[in-house]
Structures are given as C-alpha cells and as structure tokens.
C-alpha cells in the first residue's frame, strides 16, 4: 500500500514539531552549552572543551552505575518476559473473567511511580511490612533493604517485576487474541502437544508484540528513576545508584552543571543507539503485521 506523496502534509505535523521542539531542542542546546563550559555563577564561565567529557568517561562511579544499570535491565528482561508470556497463556479467552483479569493486572501500571516506591517501603520494612516482618520473624532470616545491598536489590527486583510484568502480560495477551481460531483447530486435528502449539503457532504469532514489549521494558528499566529514588535513595551506599539517580545527584543535587551536562549527553547517546535499534525493529513489526 503506497502512501500519497504530498509535502503539504508538513502543515499537519507542524504543531507537533513546534511543541516537541520547544521541550526537546532548547533544553538539549542548554545541556550542550553547559557541557563545554565551567560555570561558577551567573555570567561567569570559561570554555573548557572536552574536559567534562573526559572526566565523566573516566569516572569510576559512572562506570559502576552503568554496569549496575545493565545488570538490572538484563535481570528485568530475563524474569519479566517469560513470566509475562506464561501468565498471558493462562488467562481465560472469553467470558467475564477476561475483563476482570485485564483490569486487575493493569492496576500497578496506573499507580504513580513514587507511590509504587511507597507501597514497597510499607510492604518490605522489617518492622511494619508484611514481607519484611514475615521474612524476619517466620523464616528467621535477617532482611533489611535499607542496610544490606543484596536485600535492597531483591526488593527492587520484586518491585520492578510487580510493577511492569503486567505490561508484558497485556501485550502478549493481545498477541494471543489476534491468532485466528482456525490455527488451533488445525493443531488439534494434527494432535499437536501444548508445547508444539506454543512453539509453532503462539510464539511466532506473538513475535511482533513481544519485540515491542522487550524494547519498551529495556528502555524504561534503563531510565528508571522514581521507584529506587523513593525506595532506597540509591543506597545502601551506592549499591542501587542507577544512571538516572546518579545524574540527578550530580546535576540537581550538587549543581555541578558541566559534569552533569556531559553525563547527560553520554547517557543520551547510549539511549539514542538503543532507540535506533527500537525504530528499526518497529518498522519491521509494522511491515510484518500489515504486509
């Protein structure tokens, strides 16, 4: 299906360009401007070239934050994707159960991100939390996410899985629903096992939505800020200081504009690379579904 070639369509996209440019390009210019200057106060600055970039690229805490970030995002994907698909397969296909399941599952997605953190503070505190107190008293294992890095990670992972697996479920379920009934009938006639059905019918048909789920989950977990900020504040020590938390600490906490800006640009380039991969994948998905 060829699109109509018409450059007047630019008039239709102009409002979007203006409004997004206002929020995107001016701030980006500011960041670039800061990243090459040393600023002491209003009107007092000196051009320093790539000094901040060199400083940030050699910053050990940034490296640590970056590896922590990759580890976090990797674990998130490894757990959430299979779990999401499994739950989607278990969901009812028709009847009142469908709406009930969909609405219940979507609830965590609609909660403000800081409230997610609050819920999990209340839930996992060793003195008042059901989870924290339960582990400490019933199992006799000392568990405190404010004191021990491993416990903080476990709490964060549980929170992240609780919060975002619903997105994977919803997408996988939508993909499953799009499979025509005839496919299943054919599989029944062939006497296919549940595994074969999954491997040859359901999984290939879900490829498009699962690609989107995978990339969305990767991107959003890579940018995570509010939930760990509220739950652990990046601690204990620096054990849960992810990229965004570290960046906000530098830029808004210490007001180190130069290094903060250089960090921002490095972060942005990493994200841009992934965005490009996302875009390519999305284009393929669009073609595959329509063509």
């Amino acid at each position: 299906m060829e699109k109509w070639a018409n450059n007047k369509a630019w008039f239709l996209v102009l409002p979007v360009v203006i409004i997004v440019a206002f929020s995107a390009i001016i701030p980006l210019m500011t960041v670039i401007n800061y990243s090459v200057q040393d600023i002491w106060g209003p009107g007092q600055s000196v051009f320093v070239g790539t000094e901040w970039f060199e400083e940030m690229l050699g910053d050990k805490r940034l490296h640590d934050a970056l590896w922590r970030q990759f580890l976090f995002s990797g674990l998130v994907l490894l757990i959430e994707m299979p779990l999401g698909v499994l739950i989607a397969l278990a969901m009812p296909k028709r009847g009142w159960g469908v709406s009930a399941c969909l609405v219940t599952i979507a609830i965590p997605l609609l909660i403000p991100w800081n409230v997610i953190g609050t819920i999990w503070i209340i839930f996992t505190r060793p003195d008042i939390g059901l989870f924290g107190a339960g582990i400490n008293n019933l199992l006799g294992i000392a568990f405190d996410h404010t004191a021990r890095p491993l416990d903080a990670w476990i709490t964060l992972m549980l929170m992240e899985i609780w919060h975002w697996t619903p997105l994977v479920i919803l997408l996988a379920y939508a993909g499953l629903r799009a499979i025509p009934e005839a496919f299943y009938q054919a599989a029944k006639i062939d006497g296919a096992s549940a595994w074969a059905k999954f491997q040859y019918i359901q999984l290939p048909k879900m490829r498009g939505v699962l690609t989107i789920a995978l990339l969305l989950r990767f991107m959003d977990s890579f940018l995570i800020y509010a939930e760990p900020f509220v739950l652990t504040g990046g601690g204990p020590g620096n054990s849960t200081t992810f990229l965004s938390i570290y960046l906000v600490k530098i830029a808004l906490g210490q007001f180190d504009l130069g290094p903060g800006a250089a960090f921002s640009l490095i972060y942005f380039v990493i994200v841009l690379l992934f965005s490009f991969m996302f875009y390519q994948a999305l284009q393929r998905v669009g073609k595959g579904e329509k063509g």
Partner: protein, 267 residues
C-alpha cells in the same frame, strides 16, 4: 487436569499482585501510633483519620487538584496536536517523514533526568515556573510522540478508500477529518487519551522539579513527606490509595483496547 493447573497459577499471580496493595490499604486504615506499636495483618480498629486529614487539609487535597489540572491540560494539548500529525504519518509520504518520526521516538526514549535541569532553567526564564501549564508542556515531551505513534497505528487500520470517497464527495479536509475520520477511530482516541492521562499522572521527576507550592502535585507532596523526619505511614498510605482511584476509574472504559495502545496500535 491441565486447564485447572493454569487457573491456579493465574490466581496465585493475581493474589501476589494484590498483596502489596492490600497492605497499603491496611496501613491507611490505621493510625500511625497503632502502626508503629503493633504488627497486625488487618486493622483492628478501623479509623479514617488519615483520609479525613487529606480531605480537610488544603496542602494535601490541593495536590490532587493540581495533578488533575495539569494532567487534563496535557491530555488535551497532546491529542489536539497529535491527531493531524498522526494522520499525516499514516497517509502521506513527505520529505523527511521517516527522520521526523525517529526524532519523535528519541524523545519518548530520552532519560527524563537529562531534561530536569534545563527545564528548570527554561521555565524559570520564561516565567512559567510553578504553574500547571509548565508541567503540562513538559509532559508533552513524551506524551505527544506517544500519542502520534498510537494514533498512527490505529489510523493505518482504516482503509484509505474511505478518505478517497469522502474527498470525491466534496468534503473539505477539516470537515472530513472531524465528522468522519475521528469518529471512525474513536477507540484509538480514547486509548490515546488514557495513555496521556496515565503517563502524565504517574510521572514524578518533571512535576517535582517544575513546581514549588502553587502547582505542586500529589506525587511531590508525598516524596517531601518521605524525606521529612517523623514519617506518618498511615497518612502516606492513605494518600497513596487515593492516587490509585482515578486510574481504576478510567481503566474500565479502555480495558478491551488497552493492549493495542501499549503495542503502539500494532496488534
């Protein structure tokens, strides 16, 4: 035997999903002294003091009002600009269309933390600091691109013969767009509005950075309570419970199309 096992698994998952929420509800119905004094699986003396405080103290309930004001503004702005743009992307080929689409995408994927500081300065410079419109505009950064994608996905599902027929019948573009085309994709418009609402409602970093007192959203009020000494868990839990209500109210209307929105209209 098999389907039963599946259902049990599903029920376990749904149960686990609800437990943290139940715990917050439990906390919100107890006074802070009671929470700190004893551990209880359910509230023994149910009290509504926490909710009462939120509904009577203007520094609390104005937080909800502020959030609703900028979320509504953002939803209206995003939909108004995104509808024609999505139509252009779904129907026309024009110079730079692919590049433009990619550029929009990068903004949805940009780390909000990058923009926090420049936004603070930009909005201070133009005198919009601590206003609802500042937060609404800042949220356009990710909501407008998202709206364009979702709407484009829905619009591409409408056959172009409809447009052609309407133009042959002598409809002008605005009249066709408003009276024929938008009603055809009203499910898509609803889902998009829902997503704008949702992402603006849940966002914390911008809304916290861009507001001081006048437009301070409930999310920011809550985080400031956390950092204060002498944390009131009961109050915090009650405030948290109330932030979930609007989401649950709107989700019912889009439950059947929700997934299509998450897949950017591409299921």
């Amino acid at each position: 035997m098999k389907p039963k096992k599946k259902t049990i698994g599903l029920l376990i998952y749904l149960g686990l999903l609800m437990i943290p929420l139940y715990w917050m509800l439990n906390m919100s119905l107890r006074s802070n002294a009671d929470i700190l004094a004893s551990f209880a699986l359910y509230p023994k003396d149910i009290t509504f003091v926490n909710y009462l405080k939120i509904f009577t103290d203007s520094s609390w309930y104005m937080g909800y009002v502020n959030s609703i004001i900028y979320v509504t503004m953002n939803t209206i702005i995003s939909l108004t600009v995104a509808l024609p743009a999505a139509y252009a992307f779904s129907r026309y080929q024009f110079v730079g269309d692919k590049q433009l689409f990619f550029w929009l995408l990068t903004n949805r994927m940009a780390p909000a933390a990058i923009f926090a500081l420049p936004f603070f300065q930009l909005y201070s410079a133009i005198g919009l600091m601590d206003t609802h419109i500042a937060v609404a505009l800042a949220h356009c950064l990710f909501n407008v691109p998202l709206s364009v994608w979702i709407l484009e996905g829905f619009m591409s599902g409408v056959p172009r013969e409809i447009d052609e027929t309407a133009f042959i019948d002598g409809y002008s573009f605005p009249r066709f767009f408003i009276t024929i085309f938008i009603p055809l994709i009203r499910a898509g418009v609803g889902v998009t509005a829902f997503f704008c609402f949702m992402f603006s409602w849940v966002e914390l970093l911008f809304s916290r950075t861009l507001t001081v007192t006048e437009a301070k959203p409930i999310a920011a009020i809550m985080t400031r309570t956390i950092s204060a000494t002498g944390l009131d868990y009961g109050l915090l839990a009650a405030a948290g419970m109330l932030t979930i209500v609007p989401g649950i109210l709107v989700i019912w209307f889009v439950r059947n199309h929700m997934a299509k929105g998450f897949a950017l209209g591409r299921v």
